[in-house]
């Protein structure tokens, strides 16, 4: 992409900046504070209350929702005023006017850039931006902060940063969280840890809101970890059963892997930008004050964090297992909190990623690769799951892949918009799945469901609506956001081009394949759950029945949002005449026009692409519908698959099916080979060395060598393929056992000696080199 193109398409670089103000925006810290307060209230007084503490949680989150809506209103008002004033006044008048207001606002506001007279060039950019519907007046984020402590001249601050993105997330998190709270009063009623459950639900919401509002990367890290801890507690809510507590541990530990990346990345950013502040870091990255290589390394580290938190390949394995938690929690994790934390972090630090990966003008980067691989890989996995929640979990992984990919190709607004719409329909789907399972007491689609549309009409209708939204069929929410992502890849060059940040053709291709996959596996879910014949056993309780009002009302609200959310960001060119004011509203309010946001290019919406992707999606629905609704149904209404299907006839298809069933063998790799390998074997060898002393060493080495030779001979000779896998496991097991016995004998004095020796060496190095 050449420079001229960039200028015409870029969201104009702000030449003026306006400080947003307003009571609700400046006191947004109340929004996380309320659920946090409710956490303690439930913990201390919950059991004595009439509704066992649920009332605290619901009240707090409802108040937070009201505050969040007020924030949304105030923010929109500020943005509108800013652009209106700019149009009315000449640049010089505006300048005076705003320098007055901004002086009243917080002195510490780091983002209040010095106001300069717009150069001719900047004015050109402004004009270009105006044409494409973007006003060039920067509305600076509301930043409130105080110094927490100070040492060695470095200030550590705590504060809030409220801009369009944060306000949008506040709304999403509080809405979903409130609906989940209400839903939970029915779903987990009678649970033995009911009060404890609501306490953690409150803390979970509070952590996510805190994370969203964080003003500096220290707070981001704290919020990130808090969300992780809460998800651990909630996934393992029914910890009496081993698989549940295993799933909780898996979620926590897998996230720790990515957290290392987060820590390292954030430390790099701090040292290179010299500040913890998100605004400062972004500004430094955008203005090339940090070297490209440094930014690239930081971006790679942070991408590892995104991969674990947002369930991207190859660290996604915890996410489907996290289904062990109560269903409302899954809805909350998958729609509004936890997994979108990764997306939000990238969106927040977009200056770093944009410059680090050099997104503008290239056609490949790690973020786009990870996202597109995830979206297709997880879509395939969703086909072979029988557990309805696991299908939805893989679907979430796949949709998160869309978002990561969109961020990778520079389609920032599309990614955030997809996050927004996805939150509603995915929460609707999870809660719908919960409603079905509430009635049949199982999540297994093949064994316990089928024909549910007769028994649960409301759940059926809302589920269908949310499914169509997820499939991305017009005119529901998913269509608009998915289409914007496809446009944003800039890969649609066939019909005149769409002009994104670069030509990410592979991302476009993967995105379209993913759309077809999504349609097909969701058709399978619909058939297995709601059509055919009821295959479950109600143990003499009669037919399954519709869930209560506290379950169905959240479903209805979410399906209404799944229909409506997409209209918030209608593409340019879709509407004509007076109604053009209604296009790209979401992007207008959410996408920052400020110094801390890079000048990203916006793709031009394309009718041909929209029609093509819809046809592909419909093909996906059609093929799956043909298989299930016609072929399988003809075989028997109770059947779940064809007796003589492709997998039964074709060896290759069978092999593919097995690989998918085994989830690409990633769990085996992590647990059997890496984890078991390291803990056991190293330890044994060392134990032995200790026992026998120096005399034994020679003998032992001989024996070990003989043993391993025999072992190798037998394994390779007997079973070449299986043996290879086992061998690598054993090898690392042996290594682990050796280390364990030498170093970890439980002798306190030995530990102390090693510690002192290491300290001495470190001190020596310090003296020599520093």
């Amino acid at each position: 992409m050449n420079m001229a193109n960039l200028l015409t398409l870029a969201a104009a670089v702000p030449s003026k900046s306006v400080q947003a103000t307003g009571w609700f925006l400046e006191t947004a810290w109340l929004i996380p504070a309320l659920p946090a307060l409710s956490f303690f209230l439930i913990l201390f007084f919950g059991k004595k209350m009439k509704y066992k503490g649920a009332e605290f949680g619901i009240t707090a989150i409802a108040l937070s929702l009201i505050l969040a809506i007020c924030c949304v209103g105030q923010w929109m008002n500020q943005v509108d005023n800013a652009s209106d004033n700019y149009k009315k006044n000449t640049p010089y008048e505006t300048e005076e006017k705003y320098s007055e207001t901004s002086s009243q606002v917080l002195e510490e506001n780091a983002s209040a850039e010095p106001i300069e007279v717009a150069s001719a060039e900047q004015m050109n950019i402004y004009a270009a931006g105006e044409e494409s519907g973007y006003e060039a007046v920067a509305v600076d984020a509301v930043i409130e902060r105080f110094t927490w402590w100070e040492t060695g001249g470095k200030k550590f601050q705590v504060g809030i940063m409220v801009d369009g993105l944060a306000v949008m997330m506040l709304f999403v998190v509080t809405v979903i969280s409130l609906l989940v709270h209400i839903y939970s009063t029915d779903y987990v009623s009678g649970d033995r840890r009911y009060t404890h459950y609501f306490a953690f639900l409150s803390l979970f919401s509070a952590s996510m809101l805190f994370f969203v509002l964080s003003e500096n990367i220290l707070q981001t890290i704290v919020g990130w970890e808090l969300v992780g801890v809460c998800s651990f507690a909630l996934i393992g809510h029914w910890w009496e059963e081993k698989p549940n507590s295993d799933a909780a541990l898996k979620a926590f530990l897998t996230n720790r892997v990515g957290d290392m990346g987060l820590l390292v990345g954030m430390i790099i950013l701090f040292w290179s930008a010299g500040s913890w502040s998100i605004v400062d870091i972004n500004v430094a990255a955008i203005n090339n004050e940090i070297g490209q290589t440094t930014l690239l390394i930081a971006s790679l580290c942070l991408t590892a964090a995104v991969m674990s938190k947002s369930g991207q390949f190859i660290l996604h394995t915890w996410l489907p297992d996290a289904m062990a938690g109560p269903t409302p929690v899954s809805a909350l994790i998958h729609a509004a909190t936890m997994v979108v934390a990764g997306i939000y972090m990238v969106a927040r630090l977009y200056g770093v990623f944009f410059e680090g990966y050099d997104i503008a003008g290239s056609s490949f980067n790690v973020l786009a690769l990870v996202g597109s691989v995830t979206l297709v890989g997880a879509g395939l996995l969703a086909f072979v799951q029988d557990d309805i929640k696991k299908v939805l979990a893989y679907s979430t992984v796949s949709q998160l892949g869309y978002m990561v990919m969109a961020l990778g190709v520079g389609a920032w607004t599309a990614a955030v918009f997809h996050l927004f719409t996805h939150a509603f329909f995915k929460a609707g789907l999870f809660l719908g799945a919960g409603s079905v399972s509430h009635s049949v007491h199982s999540f297994d689609m093949k064994k316990s469901m089928g024909g549910m549309r007769k028994f649960m009409p409301t759940t059926y209708k809302t589920f269908i609506i949310c499914t169509i939204a997820l499939m991305g069929l017009p005119p529901l929410a998913g269509f608009w956001s998915k289409d914007e992502i496809l446009v944003g890849t800039g890969g649609w060059g066939l019909f005149g081009g769409t002009g994104g940040n670069g030509s990410y053709v592979f991302a476009l291709v993967m995105g379209i394949i993913g759309a077809a996959l999504t349609c097909a596996y969701m058709t399978r879910v619909i058939y297995l759950t709601f059509f055919g014949e009821f295959r479950g056993d109600t143990h003499g309780h009669g037919d399954p029945h519709e869930s209560g009002k506290r379950i169905t009302i959240p479903l209805i609200i979410l399906s209404v949002m799944a229909i409506g959310a997409g209209f918030l960001n209608l593409p340019v060119g879709f509407l004509t005449g007076n109604t053009t004011n209604w296009q790209e509203r979401f992007g207008h309010y959410v996408e920052p026009v400020a110094t801390y946001f890079p000048a990203i290019a916006h793709g031009t919406p394309s009718w041909t692409l929209a029609i093509f992707s819809t046809i592909v999606a419909l093909t996906g629905v059609g093929l799956a519908a043909h298989y299930f609704f016609i072929k399988v149904n003809a075989q028997s209404p109770a059947a779940t698959e064809l007796a003589n299907g492709l997998t039964a006839k074709n060896k290759l298809a069978k092999a593919g099916h097995t690989v998918l069933k085994q989830k690409y063998y990633l769990d085996h790799l992590y647990t059997d080979i890496i984890a078991n390998g390291t803990k056991g074997p190293v330890a044994d060898a060392a134990y032995w060395t200790n026992q026998k002393g120096i005399d034994g060493v020679v003998n032992q080495i001989g024996k070990q060598a003989a043993n391993s030779a025999t072992f190798v001979y037998e394994k390779i000779d007997q079973n070449l393929v299986d043996g290879a896998v086992n061998l690598s496991g054993k090898a690392s097991e042996g290594l682990g056992e050796t280390t364990r016995t030498i170093v970890q004998r439980g002798k306190v004095h030995q530990y102390a000696a090693i510690m002192f020796a290491a300290t001495t060496i470190l001190a020596g190095l310090f003296i020599v080199f520093v």
Binding site: R745, G746, H749, A752
Partner: protein, 99 residues
């Protein structure tokens, strides 16, 4: 008095402390040796604080004292429990937690 004398004193204390930690088998003695090490550090901190006329060193020494007190509190509690359960406090016999 020069700084060297303080440093000498503190390094002697430090070495005695390390010797105690490594060589003693009695848990209580090891705890006492750790106190010696910490106090050796304190002497350094205070000495340099006086030398450079910077109060930070003394403040830091106060922190170290507070933390040392907490550490001994926890340490003695552990030793007490070990004694209750095993009837001796020989550190070389406490190895149930090994990998």
């Amino acid at each position: 008095m020069t700084i060297a004398q303080y440093l000498l004193l503190s390094s002697v204390l430090f070495c005695i402390g390390i010797y105690g930690v490594l060589a003693r088998k009695n848990g209580v003695m090891v705890l006492m040796s750790i106190e010696l090490i910490l106090n050796a550090v304190n002497i350094n901190l205070v000495a340099f604080s006086a030398l450079t006329d910077n109060i930070a060193g003394e403040v830091f020494a106060l922190f170290v004292i507070a933390i040392a007190a907490a550490e001994v509190g926890v340490g003695l509690a552990i030793v007490l429990l070990i004694f209750r359960n095993k009837k001796n406090v020989d550190l070389s016999e406490i190895d149930q937690m090994k990998g």
